[in-house]
Symmetry: C2
Subunit: 593 residues, 2 copies
């Protein structure tokens, strides 16, 4: 149907006849002389229909060209010639195609919006096929495709086995984020869509596959945040007979190779490494964005006897943290701006945000402007300025709360300040975060919860040791972080049944419950399960980072909205009761509160 | 953790120290001299623990070896040496590893079954991890993995874009085989799991992706036959700006390349082609197994005036068929065997199965043995023998019914006879079946149904023509058949909204219903949709064919049973009412009748 792609017509083809297929990007009719920008996925080329003696018998062509409208689907045959007015903006800008035939393959009705408009995301999602036709969306989507291709090629070449695991899996009691699927053949029973193939990939290691990967669809039924989707895609990997170093070295090398191939950039070698403790202390985050040079500075030791009660209380609290963050040049921030930062911090748990402007560092107390200065004695003030390295023109923010809360909101503040003040360095900042706590104490539930997941191995190999030191136990989990995003998370797994039972027990999962939920795993661990570990990478996020977009929706062909809808197809939708009866369910009269 | 794979230890390593990880396949203790067959995915190597003066200090090794049991997970370090009694059955049979260290990584409890037993498929599925460890399962699963890798490599190299489409899609009213998923955020509304990405891939062509593929998970909620799964995997492909020839040439070449790479076999070039009409006439099937040389022979013209009423009735029926099938050497079949064939044919709709043994072809009527011979006059008998080429020692089966039914059961009989009589040729017999009817008349529903699907383009490009000749209309669909299996099916699609509406109308889908179900497609077709077409291949079936197994469960890591259960995890399972309430559904008190 065509001899060339529109976007690849070049000077080497001058004088040749080509047949192109594409959409009319723009059509201009200049009194009998018609120009059509014909577009396919490779780009745009200019087509001309002209009443020239050299192209005799082209009255039909001109008539056809005169009726071309936006997004009409065309087949054009013509002769390539040098273009008089070169268009440097497009690849094909030195040539044009003089049409000898224009075939209208499909007429487009008036469009609901035009490519150069920004009609709002809802309209773009409704007419997704039109939105995806735009060069920018094509570029972003194709970046994702290249990423996945490069990953697969890398993995295939190294003996990783691409194995599909089920989408219709076991519903676990209390699987609060499970999507449920009623089973037609088993009235009252349900499948669940997998939140990840975690247990299946562990089973695959016990089944002798040695090295596994899957570009796996995962599902999480939860209120959507801007950067989440109900269904998302992971590069899921697992290795048998390994320790952390083997897994980390392998996937770090993979990421370097893939970024080199897709983005032509060289990531650090090796990636920096940081413990969870250090990441929280310096950056208030377990996924620090190292492109931002700002760091948190602990000042609890300086304010233990301060008159400022909030500081002193938290400085003396067993689990308290008092921390300062220097905003370079921040002394020029208005009261309104400072309030906005306080509001931002409040979203992450801050009850208040103290601040101190350094208007003239040389003047000591007289040079600072702060509601809390009066509570700080001279020595304390000087010590704080010294500890934070605050200079004339800077501003200090202070957070005081539990360690976790203070870290959270000061970490969030650091990110926002970094962006607002233009302190985010160009480039790519990967790192490993390691040595996570094994457990977190959940105040609400009054029990330990797993910081990674309950299959993560503890650093100690002895159940009694783990039980005795659960509060401070460190896991063999690790996260890969890139530019402040957790792009991968993994661990060495528990491979002995007795240790797995001990961890379930510590997590408050009784023997009977464990057997009901995870009996097949506990069984499998009894038949010679090898030591194993792995990692999973968020493909949507990595693709978005590579494509240079904030929104993962730009790298998903048919995303859902934050209200969990597909605006193009209209999913979800009501279903006749007859169909529900066939799968033995009914809609509840009263929606759950 | 290891220096080499067990199955790859060879003579080049003699004298070297290696560290291996694997499972104890067999362990034999011969009075202080212990042999362990250590197995990983690459194969088995013999490990020896011996009280030899040259390997001093090995009392610990012998003690460890003496306690090794089946499927214990071990790490062994030792020195490779030439083996005295060569074992030609295994790759490593010329060497053995003299252990200097044996580390028990994980003890295996007594196994529920042993690899050499056949405990029945239910037990194998429950302990899938043990079953998958066996060399035969590893070989079959890895064949599938190689197939998918080869397909991807081929497609990636040719610019096909691997694009993921949603798993949570729109529930279509009357989607009788849809899996439903209640929507948490939208009480009373549901998603459906896709039966295929058909509409999404068409939309992707309208969205400018030009060439698409996906190894796509599809779902069909129906009573399971032995060769079906609730979820299955397709290689889904679509091309923009193409006709049949472009699609067929491309994927036929792909299959040849992939079979060459994975199986080292050369498929026919080009594939034979056959219309639907010819396939039904000669083989009684739209997916003929061409490895079987037997063909159906129409004899209606010979029996129109026969005294055998069944023959005469169907021979004179507008939609009747009377057909003979020669079973070479079938004259030796017993009455019991013939009855069994009749029972087989009955499963496919036969009301009876006439037969005729040719005991001596030279003797004419006196040489045949048949309950129906007396109804056939000499000329008819002779004509039938001639038409079918029946020889002394052959048997003829006869079918008479509607064209469809007679074809179905005689086609099924042909397959069974071919296998039973050893008439299935070795090798691979691919072909294209084309020119399918556009519609089939559904007696029960009293309306046309689509033979492929409602998006398949008719051969005629004019709606009025299609409406006028719906009964005989031919579609632009095509199937790829291999050894009697439909391994791929595709078509050129409708790309104009008006034609799509006409086809919906002919299928009894009214304008309003069409808008409700497929409105987004009808919309998309209005904005310059390009001509497009594609195909989908059944990966599970192709993998099973390559692996040489009848059961697709052998090439699926975690399959479900014919009662839709995962015996390993116990899916599906009941769910607490609280969880159902959260997604606004309840279980019906009374299961649907």
């Amino acid at each position: 149907m065509r001899t060339h792609y529109c976007g690849l017509v070049d000077e080497a083809l001058i004088g040749q006849t080509v047949t192109l297929c594409g959409w009319a990007d723009v059509a201009r009719n200049l009194g009998g002389l018609c120009f059509i920008d014909l577009r396919d996925h490779e780009g745009i080329v200019q087509v001309v229909a002209e009443p020239d003696a050299d192209t005799a018998g082209n009255a039909e062509v001109i008539a056809a060209a005169a009726h071309v409208g936006y997004e009409d689907c065309l087949r054009v045959t013509g002769v390539v010639r040098k273009r008089q007015s070169v268009n440097e903006k497009i690849k094909t800008g030195r040539v044009e195609v003089v049409a000898t035939q224009i075939e209208l393959l499909n007429k487009a009705e008036p469009l609901p919006f035009h490519a150069h408009e920004n009609p709002g995301e809802d309209i773009r999602l409704k007419y997704r096929y039109l939105d995806l036709r735009t060069p920018d969306m094509q570029r972003m989507m194709r970046t994702r495709i290249k990423l996945v291709q490069a990953l697969r090629r890398w993995l295939d070449a190294r003996g990783f086995q691409d194995i599909e695991t089920p989408i219709l899996t076991k519903a676990t009691p209390e699987g609060a984020r499970d999507f449920l699927v009623p089973a037609r053949m088993h009235p009252g029973e349900f499948y669940a869509l997998p939140q990840s193939p975690q247990l299946f990939k562990q089973i695959l290691m016990m089944a002798g596959f040695d090295r596994y990967y899957q570009i796996a669809r995962c599902f999480r039924d939860e209120a959507l945040r801007a950067d989440r989707q109900l269904e998302f895609t992971q590069l899921d990997m697992e290795f048998a007979w390994v320790d952390e170093k083997i897994v980390q070295d392998a996937v770090e090398g993979m990421m370097r190779d893939v970024f080199r191939e897709v983005m032509q950039v060289e990531l650090a070698s090796p990636f920096p490494r940081m413990t969870y403790e250090e990441a929280m202390r310096r950056y208030g985050s377990d996924k620090p964005d190292l492109r931002i040079a700002l760091e948190l500075v602990d000042v609890a030791a300086l304010v233990k006897t301060s008159e400022f009660k909030v500081f002193a209380d938290w400085a003396n609290h067993e689990d308290g943290r008092v921390v300062a963050l220097r905003a370079p040049g921040g002394a020029t921030l208005s009261r309104k701006q400072i309030d906005d930062y306080a509001a931002h911090a409040a979203k992450y748990g801050a009850k208040g945000l103290a601040w101190l402007k350094v208007e003239d560092a040389a003047k000591g107390r007289d040079g600072v402007n702060s509601p809390i200065a009066k509570f700080l004695d001279d020595a304390t003030l000087a010590a704080i300025l010294q500890a934070t390295g605050a200079q004339t023109g800077d501003l200090l923010f202070f957070g005081a709360a539990t360690y976790k809360t203070a870290s959270d909101f000061m970490g969030a503040l650091r990110l926002k300040l970094g962006k607002d003040l233009g302190l985010v360095a160009e480039g790519w900042a990967p790192l490993w975060v390691t040595d996570f706590p094994m457990f977190e104490w959940d105040e609400e539930e009054g029990r330990y919860v797993a910081l990674h997941h309950p299959f993560t191995a503890p650093a100690v190999d002895d159940e009694a040791d783990l039980r005795a030191n659960a509060k401070t136990a460190v896991s063999r989990g690790y996260d890969m972080v890139l530019n402040g995003n957790e792009i991968g998370g993994g661990s060495i797994r528990i491979h002995r049944s007795s240790m797995q039972s001990a961890v379930f027990d510590l997590l408050g999962i009784g023997a009977e419950e464990a057997q009901g939920k995870f009996g097949f795993l506990l069984d499998a661990l009894k038949y010679g399960a090898p030591p194993h570990g792995g990692i999973a990478f968020g493909i949507d996020r990595i693709a978005a980072l590579m494509a240079g977009t904030e929104s993962i929706r730009d790298v998903i062909a048919f995303p859902k909205t934050t209200t969990a809808q597909c605006l193009m197809t209209g999913a979800p939708s009501p279903v006749p009761d007859k169909q529900l009866a066939e799968v033995h369910i009914s809609v509840r009269e009263k929606p759950a509160a």
